[in-house]
């Protein structure tokens, strides 16, 4: 279930609101205490997860189909009738703080969280996990207020996949969610983006390098070309970054690029981690490869991307959880579901020239570069 109200909607100075809500909302609901909620999830054998993403409060679960009806009734309590017991609030806040402190100790994670914060205008880059300095501004009232404004049926999307039919679940949903009412009143004030270039000192063995550059939205007609461009860079072990940075030069263990496509914008996010003395060379090679994509793409490179995509699309069908999340995601971004056949034909239709047209229209430039490690790079 995707409910609008993710971290992008945390008010200025209140980053962490959505993630705190994701924790507090399941600590007691309806006539169940926090302990009884978790006991019931275990009794029904539900693997459950409540998180904040950029756009949404995301609540998901997986269970055997015979337990779906009672599981949905329990989730409707969590959504509609959270207890918001104030005695739990300190623990919620400490939990958010603990998570943030663990990111501080993990430079590989920290560089990507901080890269996203810098490459998008506020509030799109606000970390889903929150910001340490903002925690003191969060109060039970501010979280309840966010719940009141955000957790409303309009814009909420429920995706279900697996061994059930709509006729099976509809009566349960009508019974348990029809009382849900009101409209969300989310406020979003866009601000400035962060600095293009920065170094965060950290006593680490490696220098962790993050590079971002502009891409497109998930709903853009060129989305598949954008996906293919990133896939040529980082789609498999024969892709360019792995080959040039790791296989040919042995500069790092981990190097990748990924397409971060949001509702109305996107960035390509790249990472490489390398020992400090080889960090400058790694940055230069990595940046060079991103730019070189505009010089040309081989037919064989694109064919491999297509083959990988087709296989992984089919294999993803084997998991009900991954089918449910792609249903909800497509409904959010496109307002409809997409069949496997449609995705397959769009991938099949890609040519080297359509992908290159995309790369030329959205070249690797306007970089955001962030490093975390012992020394600053040029």
């Amino acid at each position: 279930m995707l409910v609008p109200g993710g971290s992008a909607f945390d008010l200025p100075g209140h980053n962490g609101t959505a993630t705190a809500l994701a924790d507090w909302i399941s600590r007691g609901a309806g006539d169940r205490t926090s302990r009884e909620v978790l006991a019931e999830l275990d009794r029904l054998g539900v693997q459950s997860r409540e998180t904040a993403s950029t756009h949404h409060l995301a609540i998901s679960g997986a269970c055997l189909s015979e337990n779906l009806a009672p599981a949905l009734r329990l989730y409707s309590d969590v959504l509609l009738r959270p207890r918001f017991d104030e005695s739990e609030f300190d623990a919620v806040l400490s939990g958010v703080e603990n998570e943030l402190l663990s990111i501080e100790d993990d430079p590989q994670k920290k560089v990507m969280v901080e890269l996203v914060r810098r490459c998008y205008p506020f509030p799109w880059g606000q970390p889903n996990e929150g910001t340490l300095a903002d925690l003191e501004n969060l109060s039970p009232e501010s979280i309840r207020e966010h719940y009141r404004r955000a957790v409303r049926p309009n814009g909420a999307i429920l995706g279900i996949a697996g061994h059930v039919t709509l006729a099976d679940v509809l009566p349960v949903l009508e019974q348990s969610l029809s009382a849900w009412s009101g409209s969300n009143e989310l406020v979003l004030i866009e601000g400035q983006r962060g600095p293009h270039r920065e170094h965060l000192p950290h006593e680490s063995s490696q220098t962790h390098i993050g590079i971002a550059y502009p891409a497109i939205a998930y709903s853009d007609p060129d989305y598949y070309a954008a996906w293919a461009a990133v896939s040529v860079l980082s789609g498999g072990m024969s892709a360019r970054l792995f080959t040039e940075v790791r296989e040919k030069r042995g500069l790092c263990y981990s190097v990748y690029a990924s397409l971060n496509a949001m509702k109305d914008r996107g960035q390509v996010l790249c990472y490489a981690g390398t020992t400090a003395e080889r960090a400058q060379e790694t940055l230069d090679v990595l940046r060079g490869e991103l730019v070189r994509l505009g010089d040309g793409i081989g037919e064989d490179e694109l064919d491999r991307c297509k083959a990988r995509a087709k296989s992984s699309l089919i294999m993803a069908q084997e998991s009900a959880g991954s089918r449910a999340s792609s249903l909800s995601r497509n409904w959010y971004h496109l307002g409809r579901t997409i069949s496997l056949e449609e995705v397959r034909s769009k991938i099949e239709a890609l040519t080297v020239s359509t992908v290159l047209d995309y790369v030329h229209a959205h070249p690797a430039t306007d970089f955001t570069i962030l490093t975390v490690g012992p020394d600053e790079l040029n």
Binding site: L41, V46, A62, E203, Q206, A307, I314
Partner: protein
């Protein structure tokens, strides 16, 4: 689902669980060669060798290997642990023959000197990456301390020193001793025919050198010990270990359920004591089985100030469980939780593969999903009580990483 098993004349054991209701097929070569099989002078060689497998064979260059897997969209990789090195892949059934041809060939790589020198740099970067992760540092040191004097205490990655000093000649020697058909299990899960599996195995693995496992498991004795590694961090991590049933002990199922009850990441005793009230970021107990030994591993992280009282609370909780056991209600919840995990993991051939290959490599045992569920249902409160007599929860070995010095 249909189970099949055979042994090739050279000793390669082949097991398969075939299923027409899925779209893909996964297979893996499970080699009984891990960190515990290394002499200290070649620490890290199993893992380094796993990397070298992708650097080319007589028939396929490194570029060929990477390119061919991508051309057919195979999802392939390899991993090394204390116990084994596993080369695995998932693919669509029509690409199984090609994927199998390449994946089976890389177990016998060329080991060219310039590739060896280049890949050594990558391994040293991997060691550097894990050095920056406090949890990895804590795990390595805890294993080292808990299994002091026993080969299970050796780091999978090795150290910067041991990997730097390693020669390709040493690696060849290690490969010749361990990569023999009788020391390898081929496991296949998902959508294909048994006749196809047999044909591929005979064609591509039938000529592998015969010979069995050079491993002779020795018993482990762990004396209580404590080590704190001071590191400038926001959080303190602590790992504690204690003896638990070995991988061949029938009490391992009770041990797994006990750990879920006491230290699962949600709705366990330690979760309610420490994580729910946010006294700790995480407080988990897991059961780890190895050949000949097993461990309970407690992982605790959070603010340095809270650590002393958190460790005391864990002691109290362990003492309470050791004295009074668990309740029927707790056991029932844990059973349901584990049952869901077994079923969901089994949705994909890749999920079934790890259970199929792991069980056969360590115990020559096949268990279907239904078998696993039946075993879970069969564990009683009394079984856990019995387990705790010989293997009580304990804090024998303690390793800390973070601001605290004791």
């Amino acid at each position: 689902m249909q189970f099949h098993q055979t042994t090739l004349p050279n000793g390669l054991e082949v097991v398969a669980e075939l299923n027409d209701d899925v779209f893909s097929v996964a297979f893996g070569f499970y080699v009984r060669a891990g960190a515990r099989d290394e002499f200290a002078t070649v620490s890290g060689v199993s893992h380094f060798l796993e990397h070298m497998a992708f650097k080319g064979t007589e028939r396929f260059s490194a570029e060929d290997v990477n390119r061919i897997f991508d051309e057919i969209g195979a999802d392939n990789n390899a991993m090394t642990s204390e116990e084994s090195t596993v080369f695995y892949a998932a693919t669509l059934p029509e690409y199984l023959p090609k994927t199998f041809e390449v994946q089976s060939s890389i177990l016998f790589p060329t080991l060219r000197q310039d590739d060896f020198d280049m890949e050594k740099k990558v391994i040293l970067e991997e060691i550097g990456m894990y050095e920056d992760q406090p949890a990895s540092v804590a795990y390595d040191r805890a294993m080292q301390l808990h299994f002091a004097g026993h080969p299970l205490g050796q780091s999978v990655l090795g150290t910067t020193e041991s990997v730097s000093a390693l020669t390709s000649e040493q690696m060849r020697g290690y490969h010749a001793e361990h990569y023999r058909a009788g020391n390898i299990v081929l496991a296949v899960a998902g959508r294909t025919e048994w006749s196809t599996v047999l044909e591929l195995a005979q064609k591509h693995c039938g000529h592998w050198p015969s010979g069995g496992s050079p491993r002779t498991p020795i018993p482990a004795q762990s004396a209580p010990s404590t080590k704190y590694i001071v590191k400038e961090c926001q959080q303190q991590l602590i790992i504690q270990m204690a003896a638990a049933p070995s991988g061949s002990d029938p009490r391992r199922f009770a041990a797994e359920l006990l750990c879920v009850i006491v230290g699962d990441d949600t709705n366990s005793r330690l979760y309610w004591d420490l994580v729910d009230p946010a006294l700790a970021e995480s407080a988990e107990v897991g059961y780890y089985e190895y050949e000949g030994v097993g461990t309970y591993l407690t992982f605790l992280s959070g603010s340095p100030e809270s650590m002393k009282s958190n460790l005391e609370q864990i002691s109290r909780q362990f003492a309470a469980v050791n004295a009074n056991g668990v309740t029927a209600e707790e056991l029932e919840q844990a059973r349901n939780k584990v049952a869901t995990r077994v079923v969901l993991r089994g949705e994909r051939p890749m999920g079934r593969l790890s259970s199929l290959g792991g069980n056969w490599l360590s115990r020559r045992e096949y268990r279907s999903i239904a078998d696993d569920l039946a075993i879970l249902r069969g564990v009683s409160v009394e079984d856990i009580q019995q387990l705790l007599i010989e293997f009580p929860l304990a804090q024998t070995t303690t390793v800390g990483v973070g601001p605290l010095s004791e």
